[in-house]
Symmetry: C2
Subunit: 252 residues, 2 copies
DNA sequence: CGCACACTGTGTACGGCACACGCAGACCAT
DNA sequence: ATGGTCTGCGTGTGCCGTACACAGTGTGCG
């Protein structure tokens, strides 16, 4: 384990709870969890753009530089925020026997987390996750394919595919929140504006397909657009994975 | 058309070439295309993080504030950069009769553009595209489904799905470039480091699926990982769309 | 018991950033 | 010529991330 502590960046050490043991020097006045919670609170209230080192520190009643004892850069702060915002995934319902139900539940849970914290989609991340709760999510995603004939590589790719899909479609559907200020126009308004502008610009000669799509009202009509669209596209993705499963199933 | 000019933001007006007509005042010393090209050059050489208003202006031999006559914010600059970096899509090869071949070519072209300009994935965008060349891409994506029984909504969703997939998988595959500095370690090294750390942290009791995946060597082995993985996942996505097409096909 | 030292939070400072604002001059339609 | 309008420029503001030196604090070891 000491090898772990040696090589991992400090934030990961703290996130994995290596901080428990007694050490010389003053007792820490802050904690990773506290910093993460404060940053998440700020992002929830005022957008990711409002999250600055000084703002987070002020929220906690400390000075800016204190944070650097726990988080060595802004990027590290982002890691902590993601860890805090996603939280631990709900334990799997073992009664869901089918892989489709399991992975659907997983995908929906991710979407819900993003809906709770829209700024998650704007967080710039530069490496795959290694933090504990993120690994819990990964574990749950992979385990959804248990019982299928998919290989390890297949499962990883499929999980990534579903994750990619959820993030992407949520981003498109939510027509991303502006980060620096609250907007007075709703998402629907934004869609309307977009549809109108697209109608203006989509010259039927140069853009026949776009024009016909616009004319068909695809962009303007929306009922419970978000959820319907999500389920619809997810079904398409899962159908693709299902065909992969069939391909992997040995024919008797 | 004057209604167009009235309501559209300035950048879009310029991008659509409304700037042609004669107007009072001095001749503009800059152009949208020139600004975009300069910004793209900087991003290619030094990463997206190196793109600042002052840096772009310096590249052009002008002062920082001159840019704001053409681009009203940093976000607008991003729009111009994307427009420049993607360029116009190659004209469709009408000989590709099948929708699968057409959308595959489209997806591959997008991936190639991203490979040419990796920073494209880091560009924060807050609204769907309305710039001319981006609409060309959209047109081509939609037209790939001509001849299928898919509805307008279906085609839009399918195109978005493929686009999402390409962006997502490319991001994962390229284990995103660090933006502020050149890295001495290659992508493979980064993968190796990740695999080793994951092996350290993936306690088989808490993370059985991850552990078994790691042990199966999924993370460490990679041949021509990028392309294989891309084609593989794309096939899965297209299989899903194909099942949708079957569903839409009326049974005689 | 006391001491060295690792570790804590803090203050100051720096360079860079996006952008507001006001200005002087260039060019057009009249 | 002349008025209005648009160009590019210079100055200035507030914020950002973070490097660095410093003083206080508590622990484990001698």
């Amino acid at each position: 384990m000491e090898e772990t502590a040696e090589k991992l960046p400090r934030v990961l050490q703290l996130l994995w709870g290596v901080e428990g043991l007694a050490r010389p020097g003053p007792k820490p006045g802050l904690s990773i969890a506290g910093i993460g919670a404060a940053a998440v609170k700020i992002a929830d209230e005022a957008g990711l753009g409002a999250v600055s080192m000084s703002r987070v520190a002020a929220e906690l009643g400390f000075t800016t530089m204190s944070l650097y004892r726990y988080v060595s850069s802004k990027n590290d702060l982002y890691v902590v925020m993601v860890e805090e915002a996603f939280g631990k995934p709900e334990p799997v319902d073992v009664a869901r026997t089918g892989w489709r139900e399991r992975i659907t539940a997983w995908a929906t849970a991710i979407r819900d987390a993003i809906h709770r914290h829209p700024w998650l989609l704007q967080v710039p991340l530069f490496e795959p996750p290694l933090s504990p709760k993120q690994l819990d999510w990964m574990e749950q995603g992979l385990s959804a394919f248990e019982g299928t004939p998919l290989t390890g590589q297949d499962r990883l790719s499929s999980m990534v595919l579903v994750n990619i899909y959820v993030r992407g479609v949520t981003q498109v559907t939510m027509s991303v929140f502006v980060n620096n200020q609250a907007i007075d126009q709703t998402d629907q308004d934004a869609d309307q504006i977009y549809a109108r502008r697209l109608a203006l610009l989509a010259d039927p000669e140069r853009f026949p397909s776009i024009a016909s799509t616009v004319l068909s009202g695809t962009f303007t009509e929306d009922g419970d657009f978000g959820n319907d669209e999500f389920q619809f596209g997810l079904r398409t993705v899962l159908d693709g994975i299902e065909s992969l499963i069939h391909r992997r199933t040995p024919t008797p």
